[in-house]
């Protein structure tokens, strides 16, 4: 490490700015999490620890709505993440192993651009597209939209991983009488697996959490968890919303943690 003088931790205000950023980022989440265990009807008065709002989510008057929304959300997230990951894996293989082909840079831009396009624009465009081709809105439209916008999220960790795999492994496999397919399935795919799992989990979370695009392309009566929560909140915030949000947060944290751990485990070393 450099001398103490240039240690960034010794800069004036380093500690306070860091704490401020952490507070802005995490205080709201912390408040929601804590108050989801509140025994009170009120959102702000603490009346003791209780799991009543968690019970309410599963058995209360809105439980049927939440259950079907959660089911939709998970099914859509799993299918969308699986298909998006498959497409992203093939795309990454072509991009990284395809050598220099024409429009390679353009292809990379086209794959990752959706990350930078404002989501509302994608949402409106997707809606107009479905209308234009006369596709009735429902679960299917949500699924198709999710597959499309999940691809870049799945692509990035997979292609990052792939760039770290030397092509001499595939050459060695071919040299040892493997066919191209065997070289892919026996050598390249296992080596890419951490990136693929990472990409899948990222795509899963992005799909599970998506609100804007889903809200535009969903049909009447079809809800995912985010749209159901939003619908509920419009009629007034109740503590059960905090319970359901906390559970969703928990799922996200678990997924992100797995994604991080898998990404870190490097089977090429």
């Amino acid at each position: 490490m450099a001398s103490k003088q240039f240690d960034i931790k010794s800069y004036t205000g380093f500690k306070s700015i860091t704490l401020l950023c952490l507070a802005v980022l995490y205080a709201p989440l912390l408040v929601v999490t804590i108050y989801s265990f509140n025994a009170s009807q009120s959102l702000t008065n603490w009346e003791g620890l209780s799991l009543r709002w968690y019970a309410d989510v599963f058995t209360g008057p809105e439980s049927a709505k939440f259950k079907s929304a959660a089911w939709n959300s998970f099914v859509i997230a799993i299918i969308a993440a699986t298909l998006a990951t498959t497409i992203a894996t093939l795309a990454a293989t072509a991009m990284v192993r395809g050598g220099k082909f024409r429009l390679r840079t353009v292809s990379f831009g086209l794959i990752s651009l959706p990350l930078m396009v404002p989501e509302i624009v994608t949402a409106v465009a997707t809606l107009i597209f479905f209308n234009a081709i006369g596709f009735d809105r429902g679960v299917m439209t949500i699924l198709l939209a999710h597959i499309a916008f999940c691809i870049p999220f799945a692509y990035l960790p997979i292609s990052a991983r792939m760039q770290g795999i030397e092509d001499s492994y595939e050459q060695a496999a071919l040299d040892l009488y493997a066919t191209k397919r065997q070289a892919f399935t026996r050598i390249l795919l296992p080596l890419m697996m951490p990136g693929i799992i990472s990409g899948f989990l990222l795509a899963f979370i992005v799909s599970l959490d998506d609100f804007i695009i889903t809200n535009f392309v969903k049909g009447a009566g079809v809800e995912t968890l985010p749209t159901a929560i939003f619908g509920s909140v419009k009629q007034g915030i109740k503590p059960n919303i905090m319970a359901i949000s906390t559970m969703l947060l928990g799922v996200s944290v678990v997924m992100v943690t797995i994604s991080y751990l898998v990404g870190k485990s490097d089977n090429t070393k």
Binding site: E166, S168, Y169, Q171, A172, A173, L174, D175, L176, Y177, A178, T179, Q182, R186, I187, P190, L191, N267, T268, K269
Partner: protein, 363 residues
């Protein structure tokens, strides 16, 4: 080359171009069955390109490659009965050592258990049986190298290709592996084609060496041929240390050429085809073929003065300035110290050589 000897790899007029750049300029060479053959040259000379063309990783722009009589240059790598030891070993990181070695056998249709049994035998051959269950990352560089060797030999290829496999090892291990490779080649009877830029390595291991430079074959021959009778400037300079002198050929008589160099010094050496009287060419004399004496020993003695002695362990290198002529490097074995063959800097002496020590070079 007798008729009984079989040609393992026959490269005929092979050309490799990348766009405008020509990496190989029409190379033809025959590698014999059961031979330890080395492609030697500086980086960028095309030796690895040629090896990769034999393995099937590079297309052949023009020409043909035959493997025991079968034309192979259009076959994909997995259809060629040759295996490669890669420079970085390229061991599959997610597989155990045993599965790595058994991979080629399995791909050739052997059952998993059969592949494992054979792989176990190969590991015994390279003395790594105790590491069978480990992953490549848990082995040292030298051990990984031997695994790569076992993996490439396991499917019993007709020809084994080795792409600078020793370059990542330290000197001591490299020397040990050179001998091990040589023994392995003798034991298995498989033709080895070895690529290296290390001339000492090439001289130590090879039956024959092809010296390459700038995509062209410079000389092909046994190590002693290449070292003692270099064909041209490049080979003389690249292989070992040498005195390169500009000389003029004065007379050729009975297979002997009389030449003079700067300062009027005269030298006699064997004549070479293609170099006639009046030619101004280069001459190569190996430093260890020269010796010093206090008095002239024969006609060829050259008078000079010692500039510097450099002690390099086994030998002593002496820089000698000839009277009004070029500098010479003379190498004397350390064991000759007692024979008064070493002279102090500044002292006058004569440099002598046997006929045949000097070699005239084409271009």
């Amino acid at each position: 080359m007798s008729d009984r000897e079989q040609i393992a790899i026959d490269v005929r007029d092979a050309v490799k171009r990348y766009g405008d750049f020509t990496a190989l300029k029409r190379i033809s060479l025959s590698i014999m069955d059961n031979e330890f053959f080395t492609l030697l040259g500086p980086s960028g000379c095309g030796k690895t390109t040629l090896l990769r063309m034999i393995a099937g990783f590079e297309d052949v722009t023009e020409g043909a490659i035959f493997l025991y009589g079968d034309e192979i240059e259009t076959l994909p790598p997995n259809k060629r009965p040759v295996n490669t030891v890669f420079q970085n070993y390229a061991l599959f990181p997610h597989m155990t050592i045993l599965d790595n070695v058994g991979f080629g056998l399995e791909m050739r249709g052997k059952s998993k258990s059969e592949a494992r049994r054979k792989a176990g035998e190969m590991l015994e051959l390279v003395q790594l049986s105790q590491f069978a269950a480990r992953k490549p990352s848990q082995l040292s560089g030298g051990q990984q190298q031997r695994v790569a060797l076992a993996r490439a030999l396991a499917p019993q290829p007709k020809v084994l290709l080795l792409d600078e496999p020793l370059s990542a090892l330290d000197l001591k291990l490299r020397k040990a592996m050179q001998l091990e490779l040589k023994h392995l080649q003798r034991e298995t009877g498989i033709t080895f084609i070895f690529v290296t830029h290390d001339q000492e390595e090439a001289l130590t291991m090879s039956d024959r060496i092809a010296v390459m430079s700038a995509g062209e074959l410079q000389q092909l021959g046994a190590p002693t041929d290449i070292y003692e009778r270099p064909h041209n400037m490049f080979v003389a300079d690249f292989i070992g240390e040498t005195n390169l002198l500009e000389v003029s050929v004065d007379a050729i008589d009975d297979g002997r050429a009389t030449c003079h160099l700067g300062g009027g010094h005269q030298l006699t050496c064997n004549a070479v085809d293609g170099i006639g009287v009046g030619a101004k060419v280069h001459m190569s004399i190996r430093p260890e073929r020269l010796y010093m004496s206090g008095a002239p020993e024969r006609d060829g003695s050259l008078h000079g003065r010692v500039k510097e002695n450099i002690f390099i362990g086994t030998d002593i290198t002496t820089i000698v300035a000839l009277d009004e002529g070029p500098d010479f490097v003379v190498r004397t074995s350390n064991s000759d110290r007692g024979n008064k063959r070493i002279f102090e800097p500044g002292s006058e002496m004569f440099v002598n050589m046997e006929l045949g020590a000097a070699r005239l070079l084409v271009d």
